[in-house]
């Protein structure tokens, strides 16, 4: 064995020497060979896809199935339960596509927000000194991580929300917020002429909070003095717009939901399909994120906590200043894949009739037009792009929290 190897090595060394010294035939040049194989592979793959696509189109034409994207301009002819933009049955399939896309984004954003919230609360609660809180975190994770998501969606929709009272016997909170089997209704602020002033002040206040944080951090670095950022921020966000509203004479009217005929009209409606799907997605994904948070925190050596204690930091400061910032390096890559899973899992909307992209486009539009290849292709591209964007943002965030060696 040893001998063979030596011979091989000698041979290759010789070959190398000879190729350096004299010019060998071009087909023996490893670079050109490598290039040749790569080109051949790419050409083969291209041929494969062109043939497959060509065959599919030929077969579909032979069996009389319509192809092409012309259907996007045709009137859809059916209605959608919930839409963030105006939609009527005379609108096109292209608009249905946008409606579905926005509904998918809506449920994903809500799901990601609450999943992260639940995940961090229960992930940190796992390390609580309180026995009850600690066990509660374990029970939460073990229950919701181990039950299939579809079952959870059905549970929230058919078991919980479907047993709410009918529209005429709604649960109400001060005759302003109503909850019944058809959804959650709450009042809406309708801005008057001067409402823009209040919104601008609110935007400025939010911008001010960011500025305040940076200023407080800088000041602490220079002087060591701390500034109550949270209290000041809350005060700024609440009181500045309130003062603006008072000065402009409260340019708002409140649109209360009211029972007219069969349903509540007016205000904002959250349909039960959206509630059930958001709850199921955030509770389920939250359980996984809690585990990621726990893993991240456990990856920090115990010495860090002890060192922080010996500096005299309080327990909650140790968590927020020492442990969590370091744990983020472990947590963020895991969060990335949890967020992506959540977006993909949102297609379970079809099971309860929430009009997300998958449901209204791959479900109904495909069925009404029969153009399976086109609709599925378009939908795949959307989920692909959305997840690529999530991945991109999370990678940016990851490099922001990762260890910076100085």
């Amino acid at each position: 064995m040893f001998n063979e190897k030596t011979i091989e090595e000698v041979k290759s060394a010789n070959r190398k020497a000879s190729s350096d010294a004299t010019s060998t035939a071009f087909y023996n040049n490893p670079r050109i060979r490598g290039l040749f194989y790569q080109v051949a592979l790419v050409a083969g793959l291209l041929y494969f896809f062109v043939t497959v696509i060509g065959n599919t189109l030929d077969n579909m034409e032979a069996t009389g199935i319509k192809t092409g994207f012309a259907f996007l301009d045709a009137a859809a002819g059916y209605d959608v339960l919930m839409s963030l933009i105006s939609f009527e049955s005379t609108d096109t399939y292209a608009r249905i596509f946008v409606v579905g896309f926005l509904n998918t984004i809506l449920v994903s954003v809500i799901g990601i927000f609450f999943a992260t919230l639940f995940g961090f609360i229960f992930g940190v609660a796992y390390f609580s000194h309180n026995w009850l809180i600690r066990k509660l975190a374990v029970v939460y994770v073990e229950i919701f991580r181990n039950i299939p998501l579809l079952l959870q969606v059905f549970f929230w929709y058919f078991a919980v929300l479907s047993s709410l009272p009918s529209a005429r016997q709604s649960l109400s909170l001060g005759e302003a917020v109503f909850l019944n089997v058809r959804g959650l209704y709450f009042p809406k602020l309708v801005g008057g002429d001067l409402a823009w002033v209040v919104w601008t002040v609110l935007a400025l206040a939010i911008g001010g909070v960011f500025y305040l944080r940076r200023w407080a951090k800088k000041r602490q670095e220079i002087t060591g003095e701390q500034f109550p950022v949270l209290k000041a921020s809350l005060a700024l966000i609440i009181f500045a717009p309130l003062m603006a509203a008072a000065l402009t004479g409260f340019p708002f009217t409140v649109d209360y939901p009211a029972l007219k005929g069969f349903n509540y009209f007016g205000g904002v409606t959250v349909i039960p399909e959206l509630m059930a799907l958001s709850i199921a997605l955030s509770v389920y994904t939250g359980a996984f994120i809690a585990e990621a948070v726990r893993a991240g925190i456990q990856s920090i050596p115990r010495g860090q906590t002890e060192a922080a204690r010996s500096l005299g930091l309080r327990e909650n400061k140790i968590m927020s200043l020492i442990i969590v910032p370091q744990a983020m390096r472990v947590i963020v890559p895991l969060l990335n894949s949890e967020y992506q899973s959540l977006v993909k899992n949102s297609t379970l909307a079809a099971a309860i009739g929430y009009p997300d992209l998958f449901n209204v486009f791959v479900g109904t539009a495909l069925n009404q037009t029969g153009q399976a290849i086109e609709t599925i292709f378009m939908t795949i591209i959307v989920y692909f792009i959305v997840n690529m964007v999530i991945s991109f943002l999370m990678n940016r965030f990851n490099s922001a929290v990762s260890l910076v060696s100085r």
Binding site: N59, V80, S163, N263, G353, G363
Partner: protein
């Protein structure tokens, strides 16, 4: 190296072949069964009993085709499909025929690569509401919520109806008819809309059928019938004439009980239908007694109707439009000669 090249060549040529529509009849004979797409469960049309046996008006069309092609009406493999899955299942070859209360529409017939082989039930979309709502007419449903099954022609019909009458509604769509009914029962919607026959079937599935009423308005034409893939005319003919044989048998008064007698001693039309005379079976590529097998094993249309959805069933539907043209309906088989 040679071996590899050969493999690559085989692979490449295999790719450049386009698949052809093989004869469905040959496939069915080789397999020994007809793959038939039915609903996921709709009383009277396609439902499974506790023994796993399928029955119903739509199921009988599948059985008729199996009796005609294989001589045995039990040689059917049923595939339960949702409204959304049905055409894809047919196009992909997963099923040989679809008999699933499917409305014959122009768009479906011309753009999905499918052919409708006739109509086995003339229906129309209608509304079901709870009695305590106090609604007597569909015109009073302005602003109401509708439970609809996704991917059906009813979804389009109701949008047209409400727009035409300048009323608004909210469409709550569900995947299967069971979920649609559950949504209606929980009060998620004020009314359930579907084909009249389906409403009757869904109504008897309610916890308390007496609480629900079906409104008098019929808002659309929904001719329901069996469907096959385009591109296999022989199979299209077999399914079309299997259904027509059931309708023709009723017109001629041929029943499961008297078919043997009519075949031997009946009039010329009876003999032609049942295979004692003529070439009807041979023209379809089937044995001469194809229709005889259908009538003796499945029955004529009237027998199938009464057994599954008519007076002999819980649905108790009237024949109405679905009576034979001789009795004032519009059921009419082309000439069997």
């Amino acid at each position: 190296m040679n071996k590899k090249l050969t493999l690559a060549a085989v692979f490449a040529t295999g790719l450049s072949f386009t698949s052809v529509n093989a004869g469905t009849l040959d496939d069915v004979k080789a397999r020994g069964s007809v793959n038939c797409g039915v609903s996921t469960g709709l009383a009277g049309f396609s439902q499974k009993d506790e023994k796993g046996e399928w029955s119903g008006l739509d199921v009988d069309v599948c059985r008729a085709v199996a009796a005609a092609t294989l001589g045995d009406s039990s040689k059917v493999k049923f595939k339960p499909l949702t409204a959304k899955e049905r055409f894809t299942a047919l196009a992909s070859g997963e099923i040989d025929m679809l008999s699933r209360n499917t409305t014959w529409t122009h768009t479906r017939d011309t753009s999905l690569g499918i052919n409708f082989a006739g109509t086995n039930y003339y229906d129309g979309a209608s509304f079901m509401v709870m009695k305590n709502l106090g609604v007597k007419s569909a015109k009073e449903l302005d602003g109401a919520n509708a439970c609809i099954q996704a991917g059906t022609s009813t979804e389009l019909a109701i949008a047209d109806y409400f727009r035409e009458n300048k009323m608004s509604y909210k469409a709550v769509t569900f995947d299967t008819s069971d979920q649609t009914r559950a949504g209606f029962e929980s009060g998620r919607c004020d009314f359930l809309t579907s084909d009249g026959s389906q409403l009757a079937a869904l109504r008897i599935g309610l916890a308390n059928p007496g609480n629900a009423i079906i409104l008098p308005e019929v808002i659309s034409k929904e001719p329901l019938g069996p469907v096959v893939r385009q591109g296999d005319d022989q199979w299209f003919n077999i399914v079309k004439w299997s259904l027509n044989a059931m309708i023709e048998a009723e017109e001629q008064g041929v029943t499961a009980a008297n078919a043997a007698d009519k075949k031997a001693n009946g009039n010329p039309a009876n003999k032609r239908l049942l295979g004692a005379e003529g070439e009807l079976g041979a023209n379809l590529g089937l044995s001469a007694d194809w229709a005889y097998q259908i009538v003796t094993q499945v029955g004529n249309y009237s027998e199938s109707f009464e057994r599954n959805v008519g007076t002999g069933s819980p649905l108790k539907l009237e024949r109405g439009l679905n009576a034979s043209w001789r009795n004032g309906g519009i059921l009419y088989a082309p000439a069997m000669r």
